[in-house]
Structure formats: structure tokens, C-alpha cells
């Protein structure tokens, strides 16, 4: 008999905000405790930990906590653990954990993503000579992913006739959802005029196209289904994942400048499930920059190539009561850059109908979660409602 598909048995999150003045480990412990409470598991039940990208000492605030540090602080005993940066982005931890519980390496795996990017300050010029891929970008004052992503956005606008109004529609939509989310960082109303008159960062991306750096930690517990009886909630099945890597692993050599790595990730994910885009009830799609969400909509096949701009400008598509409710917590654009796992957290909260005032009132059993952009991306379908029985 084939092994059951892996499941998510609980979620947790620390305080999320600007300059909280707390250590990464402190925030992570809060998120782990929240997830244990949420699931009904105890720390003794946890026998695995996964994270991406592992502790990143060279990038202050980007990933301040290591697995060994968390393990030691919380007195864990682990059968399996894995952390590191050379995976398909922020969902690497969840995908690795899913593989671990499926192959019997662990029963309950804490996946965490902690950021203190709001508190951290990086001085670009304090670093030494450039090595690796950064040497091809930074000598040309292209310091930020905002620049690298803007090059894709400009090309997308050029090929498909999209305009800033489409990105603005997504920014306004996300802010509307954030207004219903008490943990969102920016909750005040945002209008399209506010968006269009905001300062340009790197054309065509303006201030409101960029997500908001945050301090916070998010935890997802991935479990072996056979180990979840008696827990607080019906577990959510990880129906399928995809993280195929093809073409060039490069910001500037990728053959198509109007898609990113998510196109191959989503394609491989769909090959692993009988579900189709029409079966999906809602979507939580990465928005480190607004244009990336448009790329995800097309990668998943929720609209055709070049159609995502029109798709997001029609609110009946993406509103909470729309055909495909999108980034229901406000996304990273308004809720804060919890960096990937925040989308998984929100998808689970919606499926469990624990999303408070922003709860989707229509069907919300099957979620598409797409996380990453640029060179790294992974796609996932989450399915509630006890699908295997």
C-alpha cells in the first residue's frame, strides 16, 4: 500500500511587525509554541526540524536562526533535520519535511522561517569584492531584487501591454484584505491614486510594488498522517508539490524574461495530481514584488499567458468573495514580509476557517500556494476536508 500523502497538522506565528526589537530566536520560540498549542502536539512529539535558507550570518536579518540553536534552546530530540539555502526557495523546508515524513525519517516536523529584516541594517559597501553570481549584477549599481525584478516587469509590460494600473490594482486589493487582518503591518486604506503617485523605486516598480520588511517567525508543522489521530484539527493534505529547475538558474540569462522559475515549478506540480486549476478555491501567491504574483497566476494556469494584468484588474476574480480569492491576508505587500511561509500559514488558516474577518465565505478547501520568484520557486496544492477517506 502506498504511503499516505503528508499533511499539515498545525500552524503558528509570532508577533509580526516593524522593529520589534526582539531576537530571531525569541520570535521563533514564540512561533513554535503557538504551533504546538494550535496542533495539540507537545515538544516531545516533534522529531524533525526543517528550514530554508539556514542561518545566514552574512545577510543581517534575512535568516537569523539556525536549526541547532532552536533545537538546543527548546530541548528537542530530533530524528531528522535539514536546513540550507540551495533549494527551490522558501517552500524548501515544507517540501523536505514532506519527503521526510513520507519516507519515515520523522513523524512531526517543525518548518520555520524567521526574519528580522525590519530591525537589521545592511551596509552594501562594507562587504568585500564580489564573488559568485552577484559579480554580474552589483558592479552596475543593480543592488536590489527590486532592480532585477523590474527588468522582468518592464519586459512583461512591453510584450503584453500591461500597465502600472494592473500592479496598482493588486496593491490596493492586498491592502483591502490587510485591513481585515489584525496582524497586518499596513492596514490603512490605499487608493489607486496613492499608488500611482508614490515614489518610483526602479521603473516600473514603485514603493507599493515592494513588500514591507518585517520582524516575525512563522511555523508550519508537517506530519505523517498516520501520526495525527487525536490532534485538534483534521489535517490538511499536501496534495502535490513542484520545484522543477530548468532553463538557466540566473536572473539575467533566463530565456524568457516574462516568466520566472515558477513556470516550471507549477508545471511539475500539476503533473503530480489529478486536480486542475478549475478545482482550486483560492490562491496565496508570493508577492515580494507585485509583478511576481502576476507571474504566479499565469504559471498555475489561472489565466492565460499575458492575461494576468487583466485578471487582477477585475476584482470579481480576486476579491474575498471572488472566483479566486487571492492573498487573503494582505500578502507580503501589506501584511509584511514573513517570507514565504506566511502564505502557507494563511492558506491553512482559511482551510480551517480560522481567518476571522477575512475568512472566505465560499468554498475554501483547496488552496494553491506559490512561493518564490526570480531563480527559486516552488508550487504546492493544499487540500482540506479529509480527501483520502
Amino acid at each position: 500500500m502506498a504511503a499516505s500523502k503528508p499533511v499539515i497538522s498545525g500552524i503558528g506565528q509570532s508577533a509580526v511587525g516593524r522593529r520589534l526589537g526582539r531576537s530571531g530566536l525569541d520570535l521563533t520560540v514564540e512561533a513554535v509554541k503557538d504551533a504546538l498549542q494550535h496542533s495539540g502536539l507537545s515538544i516531545k512529539d516533534i522529531d524533525g526540524v526543517a528550514c530554508w535558507p539556514g542561518r545566514a550570518a552574512a545577510s543581517p536579518g534575512f535568516s537569523p536562526v539556525s536549526i541547532p540553536e532552536l533545537h538546543d534552546a527548546m530541548g528537542m530530540d530530533l530524528n531528522w533535520y535539514s536546513g540550507g539555502g540551495e533549494g527551490p526557495g522558501q517552500l524548501s523546508s515544507v517540501i523536505n519535511a514532506a519527503a521526510a515524513v513520507t519516507t519515515g525519517l520523522a513523524d512531526h516536523v517543525i518548518c520555520f522561517r524567521t526574519v528580522t529584516e525590519s530591525s537589521a541594517r545592511t551596509d552594501l559597501r562594507s562587504s568585500g569584492p564580489l564573488t559568485d553570481w552577484m559579480q554580474w549584477l552589483l558592479p552596475f549599481h543593480a543592488y536590489s531584487a527590486a532592480n532585477w525584478t523590474a527588468l522582468y516587469a518592464q519586459r512583461y509590460f512591453h510584450e503584453f501591454g500591461a500597465t502600472r494600473e494592473s500592479l496598482g490594482a493588486l496593491a490596493v486589493h492586498s491592502r483591502n484584505n490587510a485591513a481585515l487582518n489584525p496582524k497586518a503591518i499596513y492596514r490603512d486604506p490605499l487608493t489607486l491614486d496613492d499608488y500611482l503617485s508614490s515614489r518610483m523605486i526602479s521603473s516600473p516598480l514603485c514603493l507599493y510594488d515592494c513588500d514591507v520588511p518585517a520582524d516575525g517567525s512563522t511555523v508550519v508543522i508537517v506530519s505523517r498522517r498516520e501520526c495525527t489521530s487525536g490532534l485538534r484539527r483534521e489535517p490538511i493534505q499536501i496534495e502535490a508539490t513542484g520545484c522543477r529547475l530548468e532553463k538557466r538558474h540566473s536572473w539575467d540569462q533566463a530565456p524568457d524574461l516574462t516568466t520566472m522559475s515558477m513556470s516550471s515549478a507549477a508545471k511539475s506540480m500539476w503533473s503530480r495530481t489529478g486536480l486542475t486549476p478549475n478545482d482550486v478555491d483560492f490562491a496565496e501567491l508570493y508577492d515580494g514584488f507585485s509583478i511576481i504574483t502576476l507571474f504566479w497566476l499565469e504559471a498555475f494556469g489561472f489565466c492565460g499567458r499575458g492575461e494576468a494584468a487583466d485578471f487582477v484588474m477585475d476584482n470579481s476574480n480576486i476579491a474575498l468573495n471572488g472566483k479566486l480569492p487571492l492573498n487573503t491576508h494582505g500578502g507580503q505587500l501589506s501584511a509584511g514580509r514573513t517570507h514565504g511561509l506566511g502564505f502557507v500559514h494563511e492558506a491553512c488558516a482559511q482551510i480551517w476557517r480560522e481567518a476571522g474577518r477575512r475568512q472566505i465565505q465560499g468554498p475554501c478547501n483547496i488552496a494553491a500556494v506559490g512561493v518564490g520568484g526570480g531563480t527559486v520557486a516552488a508550487a504546492m496544492i493544499l487540500r482540506g476536508g479529509n480527501p483520502i477517506r
Binding site: 569584492p129 549599481h141 527588468l151 519586459r155 516598480l205 524574461l257
Partner: protein, 142 residues
């Protein structure tokens, strides 16, 4: 006084090694060079010890035309580096020699608001010590 795009100062620079040295020093004679496979003639960029097209390890730097077109661009306004005058143009230049063979670069001596995808451009170098960064200018301004 903040520096302009055609100025060589205040740029972060690559660490030279045996793989990349030919590229970053190529502009010393005003020529742009890229690594090319001696077996299948594929250009390999960034430089690598093997051809990604045919897996040959026989590769050598070859002079290229230094001409291409703007595949995309962005006008950067944010003062990431306060020493650098904004706005400035970051571009992806696709070289004439091969489809999707691109350099991330700056377009210099141009009105940032006048740049368009598809514009013809040609290389010019800015010297930073022993490193020559390939920048580009609109071809009709040569």
C-alpha cells in the same frame, strides 16, 4: 557631488580569479570577450569550465562585436548607494552573437526616459583599477 553612471568610482567590484579574469580585464584593449566552446561554437556566460550545450571542456575567450540590443531596462530612482546620482539606467543587453546571451549593465550618456526595449547599443568600458566594466551606449550616439 554624486557620481554619474559613466564614472568608475563607488562601484562594487568583482573578485578576480582564473575563471573570470579574462572577462573583467577584456576592455583593456577596448574589446569585449566572452567564453566560447571550441567544439560547438556556443557562447558560455557567465564563464564556466564546461560548455552547457555539448559538455566540452575546450573553451576559450573570443572577441565579440560589443553590439546588441536592449532586451529590457529599468530606471533606478532609489538611492541604494547614496554616492551615486539617480536616476540611472540598468539594462539587460542581448548581444548580437547569440540568442539570450545577455549582460546586465548600465546605459550611459542617454536620457533615462528615452530608453526603449529594442534599442541598438554598443559597448564602452569604464576602468576601475585593473578591471574594465562593460557599459553600453545607444548605438546612434557613437
Amino acid at each position: 557631488m554624486r557620481v554619474k553612471m559613466n564614472d568608475s568610482s563607488n562601484r562594487m567590484l568583482p573578485q578576480l580569479d582564473d575563471t573570470n579574469r579574462f572577462f573583467w580585464q577584456s576592455g583593456k584593449d577596448g574589446k569585449l570577450r566572452l567564453l566560447r566552446c571550441e567544439c560547438c561554437a556556443h557562447y558560455v556566460h557567465p564563464p564556466a569550465p564546461v560548455c552547457s550545450n555539448c559538455l566540452s571542456t575546450q573553451l576559450s575567450p573570443q572577441i565579440v562585436s560589443g553590439k546588441g540590443r536592449v532586451a529590457s531596462f529599468t530606471v533606478n530612482h532609489h538611492p541604494w548607494n547614496p554616492a551615486v546620482e539617480t536616476p540611472y539606467v540598468i539594462a539587460l543587453v542581448e548581444l548580437d552573437e547569440q540568442e539570450n546571451l545577455r549582460l546586465t549593465t548600465n546605459l550611459v550618456d542617454c536620457d533615462p526616459e528615452s530608453v526603449r526595449i529594442g534599442d541598438r547599443v554598443s559597448v564602452r568600458f569604464t576602468q576601475c583599477g585593473d578591471i574594465y566594466l562593460p557599459l553600453f551606449a545607444l548605438a546612434d550616439t557613437d
